[in-house]
Point group: C2
Chain length 436, copies 2
């Protein structure tokens, strides 16, 4: 919070009343002169009861209870203490996030539980796991995604998933919601909240404990009854939310929602270079339930006029090489873009496939071509770019990946992941159209 330039006043409360990092220390909340709005509590589980009483007495508005060892533990005392805290909170008018959570990352308010990216963005996250919320922010940030608010809410004894979903649904700063959920207390109310939210903005749902092995763990993690997998699958589907199976999928779907217009159909053109890479990408698109319509003769001839080299493939996938100059590449791409039988373009960049090219020149040309093309394209266009690098290499692939992501382009680490995200976004959009 200090590094994140939080503009408010800090107080450090600890048993010895010691100063911390230059912040004045107190032995109790009650000693602090003037009002306190927000308290982050990281004390042993037994000590938390008195701290919460002090919070109530002090008129604190929000407590983040980081401490774990409550109802999620195998300890009867933990369950009892959780109940005691809940009644203190209810009686005292304090709102509580947790216990067993990380709290809030809100870049525009300079609040954070770790991430230090000051820039805000359209993605709001409510995440039952603290660690997962941090991992999600890490993985999404490197793809250019930015956040409105990220809320880690743990055992959810006071502020819960229903209230949070209702909040994000109406929050004007949030255009896309991602949620990681291990369990809910009231399935019916959560379903209603999810359904209402999905009608306003896309909601990506990652359910932790979808399998029996995972469900055993959710009980010990956030005291959540994971519920039946089939019930959750149909709940998410019926509500019109977008299901993700892991954090990578959450990020991929958020990237597609953030940086491209929703595809009007599943009809996709794959444009790459490298025969093996384009064959694989076509397989990946097909497996993800995208369609690759054949390119008609006239379009094919027009592409060949711009770029033609032995070894190229003039089908769908197109295997054409961008090295023959940015102008020629632009011409070929523009031709494809005009073809009205396709509604999505997957551009494949496979830098490892051309060892005979000087690497710096290759990456420069690739990155430049991709960015120029993104500006020209009239259709939703995504990039799939592998960034495997051999030991001793220069990190140029990663640099280009970041450059393209930072230029506001939807970039994925593989065609497989791009295709999955496109298909989910397409399906969500079809569902919304039917509703409206």
């Amino acid at each position: 919070m200090l590094k994140f330039a939080f503009p408010g006043q800090f107080y450090a409360v600890n048993q010895r009343g010691a100063d911390v990092l230059g912040i004045k220390g107190y032995t109790s909340l009650k000693e602090i002169p003037g009002p306190v709005d927000f308290v982050f509590v990281q004390v042993p589980v037994k000590a938390s009861v008195q701290v919460l009483k002090d919070c109530a007495a002090k008129g604190v508005k929000l407590v983040v209870l980081y401490t774990a060892g409550f109802s999620e533990s195998e300890n009867e005392l933990g369950k009892e203490l959780e109940q005691e805290i809940l009644s203190i909170v209810h009686q005292g008018g304090v709102r509580l996030l947790g216990p067993n959570c990380m709290g809030v990352y809100n870049p525009s308010a300079h609040l954070t539980f770790g991430p230090l990216i000051q820039e805000s963005g359209p993605v709001g996250v409510m995440c039952q796991s603290g660690g997962n919320s941090f991992q999600l922010v890490s993985a999404a940030s490197e793809r250019g995604v930015r956040f409105s608010k990220v809320i880690s809410y743990g055992n959810a004894i006071d502020i819960n998933e229903v209230e949070l979903m209702e909040y994000f649904a109406q929050d004007p700063d949030t255009k896309i919601i991602i949620t990681y959920i291990e369990g809910v207390r009231d399935g019916r109310r959560f379903y209603q909240a999810l359904k209402s939210a999905s009608q306003i903005k896309p909601v990506i749902v990652l359910k932790g404990g979808q399998t029996p092995a995972g469900a055993i763990a959710t009980l010990s993690h956030t005291s959540s009854l994971a519920g039946s997998n089939q019930v959750w699958d149909s709940l998410i589907k019926q509500a019109g939310a977008i299901q993700a199976n892991n954090i990578d999928e959450c990020v991929d779907i958020a990237v597609a929602l953030s940086f491209i217009k929703p595809p009007a159909s599943r009809r996709t053109v794959v444009i790459g270079y490298g025969g093996g890479a384009t064959v694989q990408a076509a397989d990946d698109c097909y497996r993800a339930n995208l369609q690759l319509p054949p390119i008609p003769a006239d379009i094919k001839e027009d592409i060949k006029k711009a770029i033609s080299f032995p070894g190229n493939i003039f089908k769908n996938p197109l295997d054409i090489n961008p090295y023959w100059g940015l102008e020629k590449a632009k011409e070929a791409f523009t031709t494809v873009s005009k073809w009205d039988e396709a509604d999505v373009i997957v551009l494949l960049s496979t830098p490892e496939q051309t060892p005979f090219m000087p690497r710096d020149w290759e990456y420069e040309v690739t990155t430049q071509t991709i960015i120029e093309w993104a500006k020209l394209s009239t259709k939703p266009t995504v990039l799939a770019m592998n960034v495997n690098t051999m030991p001793g290499e220069d990190g140029l692939a990663e640099k280009c990946f970041n450059q393209i992501a930072n230029a506001g382009f939807a970039v994925f680490p593989s065609a497989r992941r791009a295709a999955m995200a496109l298909e989910r976004v397409y399906r969500y959009n079809q569902w919304r159209k039917k509703r409206s």
Copy 2:
């Protein structure tokens, strides 16, 4: 080849007879004084006929024909020229790799088509796509995998998939075979070769053009009839080979085969830190068809004696934190390792999950703990480590990943990928046991 310190004599042949990078130039092969063993041909498709005639006249042993535009093109001339080249080769006693391929990477012979890693290893690759072979080498190298020989063989008009499979099956330097195949000319002979090879060593098969969309592309890429997906699936299964669906899976399976003993069963323990991460890993393992048996009371108590902190999960998955000292972590790990109901250990390292720890210290502790533990473990043990990094971060996660990979440890970028590889290797090993 110059950079790779190839110890033989080079000659440059080109129309003008110009010297190239300090190598003496000739206008024709026939002008070269003395014998020539190996020729790499990169000339326009029409010019290749004369070059091949010269190769035959010169008594060249092996030609790599990089040139594309033969039977894979839509051009009748290309098909005719391919036939002409084949008869020159047959009559002249020259062996030909290609056309439309990259050739050979053989570290111990200092031959390369691009990769410059001098170290050899147990993995042999036969890859119908040149670009895919390079990408495979890149992706596997960063995981610590090294190669005996990598052969890109393109249209396979002379040296084909059957001969290559037979070669790798008996090659003493090759312990694991990876093959990327788009199509075969003689299904029966290839099946026999694959089956014989699989009885000697593991063979990982990635079939390009598994879907109708991909199959359209294989015809234009390497002139391959992709064949039916169902036929290929059962061919691979019947032969006892290990199927992979993309290059990442090839690499993951090769990592598991290279760095751990094959698991004796599907019974797996997940040890991680971070509740959300361990819940997700348990889901991933279950989905990959691994089993997570419950940890019995006595083992649980022994683990708790070593490490116990509020928020930990003492089930399977285990959520225990390695920060409380290497000795305590070792003790907990040793206890798990003794438990005879589990035969595989998946260690989860999720550096992003703990933002409150100083990063350098965290990574050092994690890496050190993992490596120490790998040395102690009596069971096959793999590591799953996410390396997403936020913009502006220090690359420490990648550094640790590489450090662990270089220490000869099986490390995967996610629990999902680790679980998939473990399950495939387990299944292959069961098949071999039944056969022997």
